[in-house]
Symmetry: C2
Subunit: 357 residues, 2 copies
């Protein structure tokens, strides 16, 4: 059974504006280190899946960028979404292309824009997930062992008893929406709640079967798209069908409705990098708990993230702020409201100042 | 008796960094309106003194900039200090040049970088000061009727009883250093304390006589400089003598030691524009008490000054900050510590990052 990896590299990363721009979203940026998040994602699976079996799904407008960043992958392994339609259509699209190529394949699916600090632990965990996906008829989720009462993630509740056999995994009791703080503390102490990483493994045929069952409209569209693969009509059909697919997440559309799920526990320094304040946690801090990236001169600057592209950022007597300079934009927000940066993006859009987006 | 005006346009305006730079200090910038503070200062006295009688003293490195900004003044009316040496040498230099030209002149002296909102009230007040200076043998100070318990200014305490005659003025009891808040409140309520504006009027001969009395070292240097005026050695003597003059303010060196002083009360919307937070008070505010200059998009942004040159500044969930973008620098500081911006300048200097100064 051949292994495939699907890297989901869509999305526009509004929460990382102004560094993330419409023509250069978050996943294509070297937010941490010298390589982009997409490049790091691809490197992370190089010991698990050969390059010719790695697919990248991205927005049409970012196709050439993705190819440039990953020149060692075959050009035909890049799939372009005519429009962003959430994860279920993205995964379905990759699955019908994989089924066309290898109906018996098993696939690992993950977002391009996450942080993974423990490369070897990651590899070990994915190895387990792929083995389980190959050897069972279950959809496999990766659940991260929580390290704090995080309210920004969805959770997976597992059963007490492990699934019999090797590698170790647990049946899933339910998928849980982002909790309030009180519940998050309980989840942390229970030992049975895991962060939903958005990383999954399954047989190509199995996920399409589950989509047919739980998302029949989506599946019908995917079948039409599949009918075009390899024909002169391929692009036309994709263009006409894909935008009409239901914009639903695979979590909500499939996983929450399915009963035959297993979760593999992972502990590899994972973060979904959902905001500037999450990114701040990934950098070394000075004695005042401030992170300075780029040229920074600070006096009495506590608990801040100062992230400059090509300007000097000088700060005095401030605390708990995120300050980002990128090209012709400066963004200053309180750290605790970093999740709301997309509201600024929305307001700028409303004012028609699209040159800054 | 002919009238002259001397505009003091030296200084590097560190408290307005990063807008004010070494090669383009505060007084040459259009911080308020379309014209620079220097240009506005010159316009302000155009009804009092003819252009050929207006002198500008500035740093040697800014001489051509000053001439460019005030092309209607004769080129020879610009005096270049080889080095900034505080106000007493600056005023002394102008006085010896004026004495050479017109020993019986009366001169008005004022800094180039202040705010005056009431142009007509200003003119009326200066008219009084010049008349008094011409008709008495007193040094005349301009004291601003205080409107708040300001701790950032020096004060002039006047006598209860007005000086007999017209125009109205008061003998000065003493010059007072910047007070603490408690004293500032008392000063405000006493009615006898006025803000020291740094604006003065006196006969050219009288101020030199007082310098000879209170600052003999300074006076000796000025006499040497005066001996070169109009000769081929003029520039050489200035270059060699001026940097050795005592770097002392006219307030401390002359006014505080002198007993024969009068103060004319002024009420013309004066501010010494000593910091970014002082400047913020000069602009219209939005409903959240925030001032936006340039491109600003804000959400929940309260009591801030957002001052951009050519970047969009976007802000979210912040309060009481000064944010300034100028060329390749972004400065963010708490409003109440805006007076300390020069500490940032100092730190940047220490790090050798002089390209940002």
């Amino acid at each position: 059974m051949n292994r495939y990896a699907v890297i989901m590299a869509g999305g526009i990363g509004e929460r990382f504006w102004p560094r993330s721009r419409q023509n250069l979203p978050k996943q294509f940026l070297p937010l941490l280190g010298d390589r982009s998040l997409l490049q790091q994602s691809c490197e992370r699976i190089q010991n698990l899946v050969p390059p010719e079996n790695i697919l990248v799904v991205t927005g049409r407008e970012h196709l050439s960028l993705a190819r440039e960043q990953l020149p060692h992958l075959p050009e035909t392994n890049f799939l372009a979404e005519p429009q962003g339609r959430n994860t279920a259509p993205c995964i379905g699209l990759a699955a019908v292309y994989l089924r066309h190529r290898d109906p018996d394949g098993v696939m690992l699916v993950f977002p391009a824009d996450h942080l993974v600090q423990g490369r070897e632990d990651f590899t070990g965990c994915m190895e387990k997930a792929l083995k389980l996906a190959s050897s069972t008829d279950s959809l496999i989720a990766i659940g991260i062992i929580p390290t704090r009462p995080e309210t920004g993630y969805g959770y997976i509740e597992r059963e007490e008893e492990a699934f019999p056999g090797k590698p170790p995994a647990y049946p899933v009791r339910r998928f849980v929406e982002k909790p309030d703080y009180h519940n998050a503390v309980q989840y942390l102490h229970s030992g049975r709640y895991l962060w939903n990483s958005g990383i999954f493994a399954w047989k190509v045929g199995l996920i399409l079967e589950k989509m047919q069952k739980h998302l029949p409209d989506l599946y019908r569209g995917l079948v039409k798209i599949a009918s075009g693969i390899g024909t002169v009509e391929e692009q036309n059909i994709l263009e006409s069908i894909f935008p009409s697919l239901p914009g639903i997440s695979v979590d909500y559309g499939v996983m929450e409705k399915e009963t035959n799920l297993l979760v593999v526990q992972g502990d590899f320094g994972w973060d979904d990098l959902g905001s500037w304040s999450a990114l701040a946690e990934c950098f070394p801090k000075d004695e005042a708990q401030t992170v300075g990236v780029g040229q920074h001169v600070g006096i009495d600057t506590t608990g801040c993230l100062v992230y400059g592209e090509n300007s000097l950022i000088a700060t005095l007597g401030i605390s708990n702020l995120v300050i980002v300079q990128e090209k012709d934009v400066v963004m200053v927000c309180s750290k605790e409201r970093a999740q709301e940066v997309k509201k600024l993006v929305q307001k700028i859009k409303e004012r028609g100042m699209t040159q800054y987006l």
